[in-house]
């Protein structure tokens, strides 16, 4: 049973990805191209070049954080669709600490910037969770509204208040440069001895390590600690958890804050790891990708890592396909969405199948007699 279960668990995502590929193939065929060629190109471009491999890791870094952020909220039955807005604000907080303070040592300045990012995310998550717990306002809608408001706030802050004075008169709308001490160190030094250099190697930074570390820490916390146990209990049945003396609302609140705090870090890959300033055109939409990644990973922190890598791969592959085959990279965006729809269906069917199997086994093991549960609880 165990072995078969594991196989089934893997079969779910595999089938969903396959289904996503089939639908994308239909789309590619419809625009008169050969899907096999396109997928071949995608794989060759993404996996056959070292710069692509580094680029995938770079692209995956914020996706790991975004996936973790969304997954944590899902773990307590909350839908934090506001990861998007939370990372805008976190990015600004970090950038502000980065450009407004000068002369601090990196050992102080960088942690300060990271903490600021976490706080920024939390600040933006606070209102939705308080309104949810206190007033019952649906967090899906409030967090989405907060995303729009975050956009406006960011635009206002960057354009009207903190615009880099040296850029006024140019079309660039961005903050001043972040102090070098607040920038996240590149990992390039690790690879240069092997002759691996180039801009994509240079971009890869230590935030990746932090993201992976956080994934493992969260997995450990959930599995082994009392807090993690309470989170799982709240997730499995909030009312039973409450009856057992677990403060439901408090757990939801703190896990949501963790989610928002993690979200705050997402933007740093680009802001502190690459550009060194916050531009009005910094990468957006990562929070929404986080939803897909959390779903793909079934809210398992470790599972978030391969899921993020897959999306990083798809994103990089899309660039290659667009550049070399002149197929819009949106094809891949559609594929991602289809994969998500397929994966949630696959997981649902799988869960039901496993539950039915378990029931069968339990009933087969039970002493002879009609099923008591079926009799008494129609």
């Amino acid at each position: 049973m165990r072995g078969r279960l594991l196989l089934l668990q893997i079969a779910g995502p595999a089938l969903a990805i396959l289904f996503g590929m089939v639908i994308s193939s239909i789309i590619i065929l419809a625009i008169g191209r050969n899907p096999l060629e396109v997928f071949g190109l995608m794989v060759r471009f993404s996996l056959g070049r070292t710069d692509s491999l580094f680029s995938i890791l770079f692209k995956s870094t914020p996706l790991i954080l975004a996936g973790l952020a969304v997954a944590m909220s899902f773990r307590v039955n909350l839908f934090n669709i506001g990861v998007e807005g939370q990372y805008y604000i976190g990015a600004f907080f970090a950038a502000y600490v980065g450009f407004s303070l000068r002369g601090l040592p990196a050992a102080v300045h960088l942690p300060l910037a990271l903490i600021a990012a976490v706080l920024g995310g939390m600040v933006w998550g606070l209102l939705p969770i308080v309104l949810k717990l206190r007033r019952g306002a649906h967090e899906v809608i409030t967090t989405i509204m907060m995303n729009y408001i975050a956009s406006a706030v960011l635009l206002y802050l960057i354009n009207d208040i903190f615009r880099d004075p040296t850029q006024v008169g140019t079309p660039r709308v961005r903050t001043p440069d972040v102090a070098a001490a607040a920038r996240i160190p590149s990992l390039a030094a690790l690879f240069s001895p092997f002759g691996l250099t180039g801009s994509d190697v240079q971009k890869l930074n230590a935030l990746l390590l932090l993201g992976v570390l956080l994934a493992f820490v969260l997995a450990f916390v959930l599995a082994r600690t009392r807090f993690g146990y309470e989170v799982r209990a709240v997730s499995a049945n909030p009312e039973a958890a409450e009856a057992a003396g677990i403060p439901n609302a408090r757990i939801q609140f703190w896990v949501f804050m963790m989610s928002a705090g993690l979200a705050g870090l997402i933007g740093l890959n680009d802001i502190l790891g690459f550009f060194g300033y916050l531009d009005i055109d910094f990468p957006k939409g990562l929070g929404f990708l986080g939803i897909s990644i959390a779903l793909l990973a079934k809210n398992n922190p470790i599972g978030v890592i391969p899921a993020a890598l897959l999306f990083g791969f798809l994103d990089r592959g899309a660039q290659g396909v667009q550049f070399f085959a002149r197929i819009p990279k949106e094809t891949i965006v559609i594929m991602q969405a289809i994969i998500i729809l397929a994966i949630v269906v696959a997981y649902e069917l799988l869960t039901r199948y496993i539950r039915a199997q378990r029931k069968l086994e339990a009933e087969a093991a039970a002493p002879v007699g009609p099923p008591a549960a079926a009799e008494a609880e129609p």
Binding site: Y229, N237, A240, E242, E361, A362, E363, P370, A374, A376
Partner: protein
């Protein structure tokens, strides 16, 4: 025979690992009230679901008025004139009586517009014809349980049913409502309807039915005339051995007051659900709370265990004021709680059996090591519980949802009886359990009493309260309207309190 409405021949229905109906023969005559009795799990409900088209039999034939038929769906069953009155009402609370009755076969005009006036008239006619008292324009959520049951019955009659299957119809009724129901059923019989009456309450079965078929473990033990049999004989047929229906209830000298409520007021939404309830439960006694469900028992229990805020009044446990304490603090003071709905409040079904066994104990020093859970200590504890309470589970890592209902309740009992609780609040602890599991739980309650726990037992089953409790309080409309000692009042008198027809002259202190 032409006067047979239904004839089942050798009906067999298997579920994985179990044969729920094994070559069942049943013949129901037109115009009779035919009872089907058997323990929980004997296969009564399965058989009725086969008849009502919810299940397809694996073997056997069904004849309706002599013709062999296949009943693929409830809709088809209705075409044959077979209607079912469900034990759990299938009523939409925010709809009116008439809307509930016509749903699915609505009188309608152009563009699918409803003819509500016509529907109400038709419902009123049916009520008059069969002697039911109901206002078709009332919203169902304002009706009493007995009235809701009438709506269910009319619903079936409205669809032209000639045969009515009533599944445990008296389970939710107080004695007076049972009498009314029986009067209604007799009237239906007079008008030529056929009734199948499913029950395990033998007194009622003997009172209402013409003939009785007994099921045991999926097989028919026989069909007898009600006039020619007795309770003892039926019980023996049901269980397969002579049975003693009384539980051993040795006298225990009650000790100090452990749980004390003073003029408790508790809200549910904006409604005052509990209105000034005062009670005291002593060590070594079972205080039973009887009452029709929905009269504030749920809210009272939740308030007592810290799950619902107390608006006013005082709650003391062992003399300490816990009026505003949270659930965890109350648990740690030694209050155990068997919740009324084990799937909702009692278990986290997707979590493993071991995780459910420590639920609510997991914050005890014994199980934590700094912020970490102490898996070794937990494993030892879980193994001991599984052994002591005979929880049938192959693997404690399996999710609790894989357990049978009885085993799930054992997990809860095992958990709640751990760490020597001083007070036990048990709400509907035997609901939905088969006879073996019910006996197990009831024996545990008596054992708790013998060990000196203060037990508060809330049950919708009057017999359970009567057989277990040392004192009985009756709740009606959120108030404790009566309090009697063991043996001081019978079912009939308690029934009067339960319907609000009577109040104790001296309200309990």
């Amino acid at each position: 025979m032409s006067d047979l409405f239904i004839e089942l021949q050798a009906i067999t229905k298997r579920f994985p690992g179990v044969t729920a109906n094994d070559h069942v023969d049943l013949a129901v005559r037109t115009g009779e009230i035919h009872a089907i009795v058997g323990e929980n799990g004997a296969g009564k409900s399965t058989l009725m679901r086969v008849l009502y088209g919810l299940y397809q039999p694996d073997a056997g034939t069904i004849r309706v008025r002599g013709e062999p038929v296949a009943i693929e769906s409830p809709r088809r069953a209705l075409e044959f004139g077979i209607g079912m009155v469900h034990q759990h009402f299938m009523l939409i609370p925010v709809f009116t009586v008439a809307e509930n009755i016509i749903l699915g076969s609505e009188p309608s005009g152009a563009l699918g517009s409803l003819r509500l006036r016509e529907a109400e008239t038709r419902v009123a006619e049916l009520c008059t014809q069969y002697g039911f008292v109901l206002n078709p324009a009332t919203r169902v959520d304002t009706l009493s349980v007995g009235e809701q049951q009438r709506v269910e019955i009319i619903k079936v009659l409205y669809r032209g049913a000639e045969l009515l299957i009533l599944d445990e119809p008296t389970a939710v009724l107080v004695p007076q409502e049972v009498d009314e129901l029986f009067a209604n059923l007799r009237r239906l019989r007079e008008q030529g309807k056929t009734i199948i009456f499913i029950s395990h309450k033998l007194d009622e079965v003997l009172q209402i039915s013409d003939r009785i078929t007994v099921l045991r473990r999926g097989r028919v033990m026989g069909t007898v005339d009600a006039a020619g049999t007795s309770k003892a004989r039926l019980a023996e047929m049901m269980v397969g051995r002579p049975v003693f229906l009384e539980l051993d209830h040795p006298p225990v000298a009650p000790g100090a007051v452990r749980l004390e409520a003073e003029r408790l007021w508790v809200e549910a939404g904006r409604r005052q659900a509990v209105r000034g309830v005062a009670l005291a439960v002593r060590a070594g006694e079972i205080y039973g709370i009887a009452g029709v469900e929905g009269n504030g028992q749920t809210e009272l229990v939740e308030a007592l265990v810290g799950l619902r805020p107390i608006r006013s009044g005082r709650l003391r446990i062992e003399g300490r004021d816990v009026t505003h304490a949270r659930a965890r603090a109350i648990r740690l003071m030694g209050v155990a709680h068997i919740p009324e709905d084990r799937h909702r409040r009692g278990l986290a079904l997707p979590l493993s059996v071991w995780e459910n066994i420590i639920l609510g104990h997991h914050y005890r020093d014994a199980f934590v090591n700094g912020p970490l859970l102490d898996r070794q200590a937990i494993d030892a504890f879980v193994r001991a519980r599984v052994r002591d309470y005979d929880i049938r589970v192959a693997d404690v890592d399996a999710p609790a949802l894989a357990l049978s209902g009885g085993n799930q309740q054992k997990v809860i009992v095992a958990r709640e009886f751990s760490f020597e609780p001083k007070v036990l609040v048990a709400a509907q602890p035997t609901r939905g359990l088969d006879i073996g599991a019910t006996e197990f739980v009831q024996r545990q309650l008596l054992e708790a009493r013998a060990k000196g726990m203060a037990v508060l037992l809330v049950s919708a089953t009057l017999e359970e309260v009567l057989s277990l409790a040392d004192r009985i309080g009756v709740m009606y409309g959120g108030e404790l309207v009566a309090e009697v000692g063991r043996g001081e009042a019978g079912a009939a008198e308690l029934g009067l309190y339960m319907t609000g027809a009577k109040r104790s002259e001296r309200p309990p202190a």
